[in-house]
Assembly symmetry: C2
Homo-oligomer: 112 residues x 2
DNA sequence: TTCATATTTCGGAAATAATCAAATTATCAA
DNA sequence: TTGATAATTTGATTATTTCCGAAATATGAA
């Protein structure tokens, strides 16, 4: 993962609304949530919400698919894992044994 | 952890220079690095670097201490763990068994 | 085709962040 | 105290982000 990609991803999480959306999606699992549900739930106009979701998706933190007229969003666990691995890579100066369990988190999460 | 705190922390990581600094500190472990080393290593003026380090520290991602005339910085593993736990809390809709190893990462890292 | 629904794209004003130079603070040595 | 070194704070300028409304796109129903 490139440093610029990672910075973009953190930038996507650096906003209360987007962070709330992402956390909801992490908790939701693979079933996903339609875009409009967030707009209503969080009380934000659809265009702004769309902008936020697009940002999260470009950062590989969420993924989306269409079902009829709705676009469903779900957390991208694989992308999230890559990001967190990048952040904590080679923790503690090449002594991973003192950072046990740091890598490989999110493995096994239902994802796409 | 409050959502606003977490957003601030991600904002601190949403910058290539700060991300590079943080990753270096994560790899460095508890021994820490003097502020000036970064300024030189990354090719940025000391005042800007100081600003970046202060931002990371306010976000509980790094901590610092003075040794004589130098101020050393190290990753704050405990703060980092809190942030990542917040991000991935209740992963997969209350079924943590499918996100095994997600929480408690960074436990055991040398920190302050 | 025509209308309604769901979402995205565009445009531009307001708020926020990044940068560097200059001045300031803190420490130590002579 | 004076001078040198290490880092921070302040201040001004420039760049980026955020927000919403309006218009556009995509899908499905009548």
């Amino acid at each position: 993962m490139k440093s610029s990609e990672a910075a973009k991803a953190f930038s996507a999480l650096a906003h209360e609304t987007r962070l709330a959306v992402f956390r909801l999606l992490v908790q939701q699992g693979a079933s996903g949530v339609p875009a409009g549900v967030f707009a209503e739930k969080i009380g934000i106009v659809p265009s702004t919400m769309s902008h936020h979701l697009a940002l999260l998706e470009r950062a590989s933190l969420v993924r989306s698919w269409r079902i009829q007229r709705q676009i469903f969003y779900a957390a991208d666990y694989e992308g999230t894992r890559r990001l967190l691995d990048f952040l904590t890579e080679d923790c503690c100066h090449g002594h991973p044994e003192i950072c046990g369990g740091l890598h490989g988190m999110l493995e096994g999460c239902q994802s796409g």
